[in-house]
Symmetry: C2
Subunit: 318 residues, 2 copies
DNA sequence: CTCTATTATGCTCAAATTGAGTATAAATCC
DNA sequence: GGATTTATACTCAATTTGAGCATAATAGAG
């Protein structure tokens, strides 16, 4: 329409590169150069005349910078500038008008995670998302009371609170990581809201370790997507070594979901979907040795295989 | 890294604006200005200093250009330049290096579709995707024989053919619209492959009406996403008027899925999930009058409501 | 060498969900 | 008034799920 508006932008590709170390899901971060100690996600520019697609561009700088073998890559979302954070109602309009940046977020999965100090644990950034040891204390002690006060008698806010946090009488849904983060942002419960000027006072509690710019939001998007995908596509195996025990698969799944699963039912699904086959070898550890399995459909694109239905059980609210 | 590469791009926002007219899903198209008669999806540039987010930018030019009320909007995928088509292995490298364009694809749903000539029926572009009258002839008569010849003795190709088209002995999966399109593109079975120079000879049959650039690919992405979403989120109601019969909901769902559903089971799901409530009024048409219902959760964001499990039945392969 | 802790694996069983019907009701069209 | 059309109620077997008990195979302690 009108040509007197800038339409030219720079594109950068941000990646939530996820792996599982022990029983903790981790995410590759780069150290902060500025004053604060906040980590950030790795990112790099996209040169359209150098790389045919953005995914190729992404793989390129990930290899160059991290020497990591990322197998699975999936585009998450494209965020259009202005504050580079949540897309809430009011945005900080105090940008300098020089160059606009659009950032394309990616989720990548890696089987290994060398250099432990560069990988940051998910649940340090999102402590309320790990339910493996029961309902996290931070919810009842901090988040819920604050959010309830925030919603007051606003019908819409209460509805969202119920939907997204399951409060007071609905079940917790592990996939709503992004929705919960956004609600907390909106309510001024996370540090980023203060940094963006949406919140007057600095909140007293941390509510998880902050990240640079909107990176925590991208990580939340990645978590949501991965948790959802796990339930209908066999992506767990992108995080497993070539041979593994069934318990190992379960522990990895549980780590990502932040929830404990029923062992026998989990294995029943694995068996029914014929996703793994025995290698013949056995693992040696404490207790009875377990059979070692391998993923049946390596090499070729397993992108649209049926995946394992995860037995989440019934009682998911306390 | 190196600064001697262009990193500046233009962004355009393309939209697959979907509605249902009668029993046909339709998509808003703009007429072709060039020699061919190929329609295209509406698109517009994104001005980062004018619109805070891309979604706002999108809504803006949609309102300006079409005077349509689009309720539901969802980002689909961001395509990075170079040919502006499928992201297959070889891309046409004969681009002029002036200005690069990144296009962000959106899916939008509209309850009405005025000006019938501007709306193009899905299944004219994808005739193999409509199974409501049984398995489409075009599959057995054209597509499958060609694809089988194409795959030859290539194990990987045969595997994909089975995965994506269910040939020879697996079930058809209605969600793999994009995968099927991409496979056909790769095999040179759609006109776009010829236009991109991936295919030497012009194929004899049309295999669905072509669209400009990579627009048919974007539409395929939209169809895949919508078909998938329908099964776990109550998005159908974004396509329904304020009052409707249960059969109307079912017909709309069937139109999008391209499949017939079991009536009683469909209604059972609707009832169980408590998504609709009676208005008290009755519809008048041929046959016994049906009760008119309305969606329970209008106004507020129904984005993450459970949605209706769709009873797709067992025998989905012929 | 036996007991115990630990992990793996096999099997059961009731409850819930799903797929696929049949039967009946209420309107219009001719 | 009967055929046609559409709506709605109800049934029932098969399958899937949630939740559990029982047993097997190892390492380490005493």
């Amino acid at each position: 329409m009108d040509k007197n508006h800038t339409a030219s932008v720079l594109i950068d590709l941000s990646a939530a590169i996820v792996s599982v170390r022990g029983d903790q899901p981790v995410c590759l971060t780069v150290p902060d150069v500025s004053e604060h100690q906040t980590p950030g996600l790795p990112f790099g520019p996209f040169y359209p005349d150098r790389h045919r697609t953005m995914e190729i561009g992404l793989r390129q700088w990930v290899i160059e910078q991290t020497a990591l073998d990322i197998g699975y890559v999936e585009q998450l979302y494209t965020f259009g500038d202005r504050g580079r954070r949540s897309e809430g109602p009011e945005g900080g309009d105090s940008q300098n008008e020089e160059e606009h940046i659009v950032s394309v977020g990616y989720l990548a999965l890696s089987k290994q995670c060398p250099q432990p100090d560069q990988w940051s644990e998910w649940y340090k950034h999102f402590p309320w998302e790990d339910w493996r040891n029961g309902r996290p204390n931070i919810l009842n002690q901090q988040i819920i009371p604050y959010l309830e006060a925030w919603s007051g008698s606003d019908e819409l806010r209460r509805l969202r609170l119920q939907q997204v946090f399951g409060f007071p009488d609905k079940a917790w849904n592990d996939e709503f990581v992004l929705d919960r983060y956004e609600l907390m942002y909106e309510a001024g419960l996370v540090w980023e809201a203060y940094a963006d000027g949406r919140q007057k006072e600095k909140i007293s509690t941390q509510n998880g370790i902050t990240m640079q710019l909107d990176h925590r939001r991208i990580l939340a998007t990645a978590m949501s997507r991965l948790r959802a995908k796990l339930k209908y596509r066999p992506v767990v195996f992108e995080l497993m070594p070539s041979a593994f025990t069934l318990t190992h698969v379960q522990k990895t799944t549980e780590a990502i979901l932040g929830a404990i699963l029923h062992k026998q039912n989990f294995r029943r699904q694995l068996a029914k979907n014929e996703l793994v086959e025995p290698t013949g070898q056995m693992s040696k550890a404490r207790g009875r040795p377990a059979e070692l399995f391998k993923f049946k459909h390596d090499e070729s694109q397993s992108t649209n295989l049926p995946g394992l239905r995860i037995p989440l059980g019934k009682s998911r609210n306390f």
